[in-house]
């Protein structure tokens, strides 16, 4: 199946009509659109996605909710009452049949205000399909179900979208619309991937067939046929009633099983999400311990630092003596100028004078009353004789100052030492604070691991419950089916006794035979698919990564897991943290491998004489897929694509084009270039981009 063309009308940056025709040539099956970033290549991928699925992707530049579909230049010309359309028309070809899908949206101005250029969608989008058989177009089929005449019953609401889904499964859209820059949203559930692989391998047809003949819920061919059997006798009727009851139970069980499996899958997904978060958080538990320790260290160091400062303050508080001691030279200079020796009269001291004063009479007999001259003289003398003479006191004083000076001589250096200590610890505090900040950024302090763990355990037990219930129902279903089948056999025996049933019984026999054939076919196709795919994946991985230490394996979850070969006999260790480039490369490996598998299967079946095995060959639409790959890997991957995909449509930068080696697969008329004038808002596409 190939894309023939895409036509855009006022879609995002492409004003007016823009059409690209794609190469449907078997050998040169690559169409390339070159252009710099921001010029509009991603918009083309969006056009595919929107046209087919009415979906948009968040890009590097805009969140998907903010994307405006209508071209800006057109918006600017809109009057308050005008209505403009945006449409994308995609033509797909498969053999002699073409399908033309057109999706249209209508827009009007949001408010009447002159300056407000906001627009809003007017009504629902319209989706139509025209099937062109051998060049002859059929009627326009509307997705909203408004199709008149005989078509009304066939083409109900949603029919066009469902057709698109069947041709290009939305679940696979992440595989065949490969958006190199946005990769990583692997939200596809296992059942979708598995179903998608079934689709690719053309197994869906078989499954449908088996469903319609026997396995389906509700009416099946076999049920219909059996109902036509004319029964006779009570035993016959009884058996029929029992079979009907069993059929009802079987339906019920099948429903229940599906419900449990859906619930199980959801639970598993949630459980795995939480497991990953817990794993990330295991690190956080340790980080939290480390963080708390750092905080404690910092607090202790700050206390030390404050103590150092307090020490400085204490030392400085006693510095009066230091300052005073420094004035000793001044004191000495002053004392030197004055004769303080006083009178040293042998044997005469202050006690002598006091004694004489008390006596009231001097040695020489003079009267020593308070008002007498002799008294005054004696009092003056008292001041200058030992021990009152100042010389002694002064001497003591200067000795004191000397002591002060001596004892304070290390004050400044002591304070400087403390200052040094203060600074060192301050530096260490800064270091620790930096460490703490880094750590804090690293971990989410709000992560409540206990709650995460509790949540995780809840999902684990839910998984277990659903699995148990499912298994229970499977057992019961199995039993019911076996019982029913045996009763059917009994019924067959009875019915053969009635000749009128011959025709029906014949039909039943053929139906059973056809079913058995389908079942065998299915088993054959599915057997070894997983193993084969794994083989191919392994090979491609080795080729791309060329890393002897690692290998890749597809696991039960239908995702590729990367492992390191174990060293010394321990269990192989899984590489959880892949870089963006590695994750992209892995997904390429997946796509290329699935496509290669499809090709191999097709070849097998062709070799076995089968035509149209139903294997789907999907076209690949790739937007900037190589942006995160190395040149070497780009070339490796690029070369494989045309080999395994029926058609490759690729948007890329010139620099990636050079290393892709794809030029041998491109016809010149299928090379385009996106241009954007420097001042212009809109982009244009022109042919012949390879000059």
């Amino acid at each position: 199946m190939k894309f023939e063309s895409i036509k855009l009308h006022n879609f995002m940056r492409y004003k007016g009509e823009t059409e690209i025709r794609f190469s449907c040539n078997d050998d040169k099956n690559v169409t390339v659109v070159l252009g710099d970033n921001t010029f509009g290549k991603t918009t083309l991928a969006q056009a595919f996605r929107w046209g087919l699925f009415e979906e948009l992707n968040t890009t590097n530049y805009t969140k998907k909710k903010d994307i405006v579909l209508l071209n800006n230049e057109v918006i600017a010309t809109m009057s308050p009452e005008s209505r403009q359309t945006v449409s994308v028309e995609i033509v797909i070809r498969d053999g002699n049949t073409q399908w033309k899908f057109t999706r249209t949206s209508y827009f009007k101005r949001k408010t009447a205000g002159d300056r407000d250029l906001a627009i809003v969608q007017d009504g629902e989008s319209k989706l139509t399909m025209i099937i062109i058989q051998d060049g002859i177009p059929g009627k326009v089929i509307n997705n909203n179900g408004e199709n008149t005449g005989a078509d009304e019953k066939k083409y109900k609401k949603g029919c066009v979208q469902e057709t698109i889904e069947n041709m290009l499964p939305r679940s696979l859209s992440n595989y065949f619309f490969f958006d190199g820059e946005r990769w990583g949203d692997a939200k596809t559930a296992k059942s979708e991937v598995k179903g998608s692989i079934n689709t690719i391998l053309g197994v869906t047809g078989l499954i449908e067939m088996m469903k319609h003949i026997k396995d389906g819920q509700g009416k099946t061919v076999l049920k219909t046929l059996r109902e036509r059997i004319k029964g006779s006798g009570d035993e016959y009727d009884r058996l029929q009633a029992e079979i009907k009851a069993l059929d009802d139970s079987i339906d019920e069980y099948e429903h229940k099983i599906k419900d449990e499996e859906d619930a199980l899958e959801t639970s598993q997904r949630e459980r795995d999400k939480l497991a990953k978060a817990l794993n990330d958080n295991r690190q956080i538990e340790e980080d939290q311990k480390k963080f708390a320790q750092l905080e404690k260290d910092i607090s202790n160091m700050e206390e030390d630092r404050e103590n150092y400062y307090a020490d400085v303050v204490k030392m400085f508080s006693g510095s009066a003596r230091f300052f005073a001691g420094e004035m000793l030279p001044q004191v000495d200079a002053l004392l030197a100028k004055v004769d303080l020796e006083g009178k040293d009269i042998p044997g005469v001291t202050v006690d002598t004078v006091d004694y004489l004063i008390n006596l009231g009479k001097c040695l020489c007999g003079e009267d020593l009353s308070e008002d007498s001259e002799a008294y005054k003289n004696l009092m003056q003398l008292r001041k200058v004789i030992p021990p009152e003479m100042i010389g002694g006191a002064a001497g003591k004083f200067r000795d004191l100052l000397y002591d002060w000076q001596y004892n304070a001589q290390s004050l400044v250096s002591d304070i400087e030492d403390k200052a040094g200590d203060f600074d060192s610890i301050q530096d260490r505090i800064y270091e620790k604070i930096d460490e703490k900040d880094l750590l804090e950024k690293k971990m989410d302090r709000k992560a409540n691991i206990a709650a995460l763990r509790k949540n995780y355990n809840t999902w684990v037990s839910l998984c277990r419950n659903h699995e148990q219930k499912r298994n229970e129902y499977v057992v019961r279903l199995d039993f019911a089916k076996k019982t029913r089948d045996s009763k059917n056999q009994q019924l067959d025996v009875l019915s053969r006794q009635n000749e009128a049933n011959e025709s029906v019984n014949r039909a039943i026999a053929y139906a059973e035979a056809v079913y058995a054939m389908a079942e065998r076919q299915l088993k054959k196709k599915q057997s070894g698919v997983f193993e084969q795919l794994n083989e191919i994946i392994s090979e491609n991985f080795d080729r791309m990564f060329n890393d002897g230490e690692k290998y890749a394996k597809l696991e039960d979850d239908y995702r590729i897991h990367v492992y390191y070969h174990s060293v010394g006999g321990s269990k192989d260790y899984e590489e959880q943290n892949l870089s963006n480039g590695e994750a992209t490369a892995i997904n390429f490996v997946y796509i290329v491998s699935v496509l290669e598998l499809a090709r191999r299967k097709a070849a097998e079946e062709a070799g076995a004489g089968e035509t149209d095995s139903g294997i789907i060959n999907l076209p690949l639409v790739l937007d900037g897929p190589f942006s995160t790959l190395s040149n070497e890997n780009t070339s490796l991957v690029a070369k494989k694509l045309p080999e395994f995909a029926e058609q490759v449509i690729i948007f890329m930068l010139d620099k990636d084009w050079a290393s892709s080696g794809l030029d041998e697969f491109v016809l010149p008329e299928y090379c385009y270039r996106v241009n954007k004038e420097e001042k212009a808002n809109s982009s244009t596409i022109e042919r012949g981009g390879l000059e």
């Binding site: 300052f323 001044q330 100028k337 004055v338 100052l401 002060w404 040094g420």
Partner: protein
């Protein structure tokens, strides 16, 4: 016979009353000392600052009159003065010896330093002289420890410590004798 005379009545310095710090000097002091908060102070006790300030004021030859605006003041309690007597008293002697503002000659200055005041007037005059130098010192210290913005010669990370060291190393003007 003369009656044994008691030695003359004495008014010892730092033993009679508290010391008050008023007006803008209180403002200065508040920036350098917060009671019980060593991390916000630069001296442990107010009396420590008082003692340092007196010496600094003397060295820097700065005497300042009191600034009694309003009732706001800081008080140095008697107990503090008594505890620090062994430091304050010698500093008082230093002040009395080296102060040149009283119009005394050198010998008179020296003698004044070694007398215990015999009258209240003498005591008060000595205390006022001491306190005026203390005020000058408080202002000087404030300029050094609080106002000083730091210089390229400062060696350490903490500016308070740098200013303390700068003060300790400040040559200051020393009163010259003769």
């Amino acid at each position: 016979m003369a009656v044994k005379k008691e030695p003359p009545h004495v008014f010892e310095y730092f033993k009679t009353s508290e010391v008050f710090i008023n007006g803008r000097f209180k403002e200065y002091v508040d920036k350098m000392w917060v009671q019980n908060k060593v991390q916000e102070s630069m001296v442990k006790r107010l009396v420590d600052l008082y003692a340092i300030a007196a010496v600094i004021g003397l060295r820097a030859k700065r005497r300042l009159p009191d600034d009694r605006v309003g009732d706001d003041k800081r008080t140095i309690q008697m107990k503090q003065l008594t505890d620090t007597y062994q430091t304050l008293a010698p500093i008082m002697k230093l002040v009395l010896m080296l102060d040149e503002s009283r119009g005394l000659n050198e010998e008179e200055r020296i003698r004044s330093a070694f007398r215990i005041p015999e009258t209240k007037e003498e005591h008060d005059a000595g205390m006022e002289l001491f306190n005026s130098y203390a005020r000058g010192g408080i202002e000087y210290i404030y300029e050094m420890l609080v106002v000083r913005p730091g210089s390229p010669d400062d060696e350490y990370g903490d500016q308070r410590i740098n200013n303390i060291l700068a003060l300790l190393k400040d040559p200051m003007e020393c009163p010259e004798i003769g």
